[in-house]
Assembly symmetry: C2
DNA sequence: GGTATGCGTTCCGCTATGCGGAACTGAAAG
DNA sequence: CTTTCAGTTCCGCATAGCGGAACGCATACC
């Protein structure tokens, strides 16, 4: 390698690569990780030792795994988001009222991240928990958010992540997505008809602040249960009411919000 | 610096130092971080750029903050723990039955980490959320866990973290703690009488597997409400029942547990 | 009980890599 | 128009991180 590598630190990236490997394959031995990442064992060892030192990985005899210290960082990252606290209750209520899975999602680095997930009484228990990432083009929440973003930002995001197909109905054409976003903007509600997972529908409304979306509320469920009337009328009404209340809150509370800073 | 630095990577540590700074002081500007850590601005810049690249920090104009990608890692770390799933329900039930705050805590690197926290109807809402770390010597959960650890491990932990005083009643003498642990082992229940926070009591029972504690269930509340009879008799009974069920589960399910591996 | 195998750790020498200082940019304030 | 300040880029140097090889240390195999 000759050129100066875009002003970025390799060691840090490698350490996080190791963390990702542990996240994906779970508790693993040193040699597995080294092989997976095509690193020398000595190098892998040094990284793991460092991460262990600072308590971000634990080892149980011969297996390494993610340290629970990450739980703290994860929480800190979530509570940093101004929308975190005020949306929690609304998601709970939505889950209860609809009986389906309710969620609140925000955008970060061009992806959607689930901040809250509540499963109603009859909700499907698929693995879309808190912290999960989702492409914005193929989900109701994503479209709700993108519809209220400036054009150039939407382009940036689509450039970065593309429009990969996740299910039969995924919108993979950029122009088609623009049109869809237009519609979403007009209606104030975004739908997902089996665009992300076959058999799964969703409905989302943006939560705005100063005209820009700071996140989106959504309800998701199996397509056979989220039928047209229910989905087109009742659910959106509930969600719009919630979003409305939130928006009042958001602009009202403004920066007076008491960030519950966890000390130490 | 002359000696080879204990076989550990400085760059990774610095990156995490920056992450910690962001965790503590919240959204911050580059210069603040650089000053806080006494790093050159160019160095700080390089680290932040790297962390931004891999989506672990976001920037909002001129302020950097923790990226939400950490939420995913945090969840992954939690669900890695075999006790995570099976204890959730029990904590919920305990919170409901007692009306107080119920918790499940495990040990990692010699500290207690809250895996579940549920606040009952009248529970105090202090900042001890999921992911929070706590010293083992000054909490009911900690004592419950330590009481069922091998002696040498307890020593190691005390060597590493000491016995700092957090409240008026904190046990700061090693011998006194050993005696206390003896008592806990006999009774099967650990108490915390304003040892961690003044005015806050707690009761904990260990959840064991093969004789070793894999975590502890606890109920905590203001000392005026958690009075002697209630605390000494009823609460422990409820918790022991829960722990018992869990232990059967733990040894029964053994390694047959279906780890709900979040794919992608 | 000796040998083989496999995994983890330590050692070592090389150079790429991360470092701080200084120079540059660009915006906001005076 | 100048000054100031925060952030970014440039640059040369020394060190810190790298891979390969050697070393321990088990457990398995014969």
């Amino acid at each position: 390698m000759v050129e100066r590598n875009k002003e970025t630190i390799q060691a840090t990236k490698t350490s996080f690569e190791i963390v990702h490997t542990l996240q994906e394959i779970g508790p693993a031995r040193l040699s597995e990780i080294a092989e997976e990442l095509e690193l020398a064992e000595s190098t892998t060892h040094r990284h793991l030792q460092t991460l262990h030192d600072i308590r971000y990985v634990s080892r149980d005899g011969e297996r390494y795994q993610l340290g629970l210290r990450f739980a703290r960082l994860g929480r800190a990252a979530q509570t940093c988001d101004p929308a975190y606290e005020m949306t929690q209750r609304h998601v709970e209520v939505l889950a209860e009222e609809t009986g389906e899975r309710a969620q609140f999602v925000v955008e970060d680095h061009g992806l959607g991240i689930y901040l809250h997930v509540e499963t109603g009484s009859q909700a499907v228990r698929v693995g879309f928990g808190v912290g999960r990432q989702i492409h914005l083009h193929s989900s109701s929440v994503g479209k709700a958010i993108l519809a209220h973003y400036p054009h150039e930002r939407v382009d940036e995001i689509l450039d970065q992540w593309g429009l990969p197909a996740h299910a039969a109905n995924t919108i993979t054409d950029r122009e088609a997505l623009y049109e869809e976003l237009e519609t979403v903007r007009d209606r104030g509600v975004a739908f997902n008809r089996e665009e992300h997972v076959d058999g799964l529908n969703g409905t989302a409304v943006p939560v705005k602040r100063d005209g820009r979306a700071i996140g989106a509320l959504a309800v998701a469920g199996p397509s056979h249960r989220l039928t047209s009337e229910w989905l087109d009328e009742e659910v959106p009404d509930m969600m719009l009411a919630a979003a409305n209340e939130l928006e009042l809150n958001a602009t009202y509370a403004s920066d007076a919000g008491s960030r519950d800073h966890i000390v130490e």
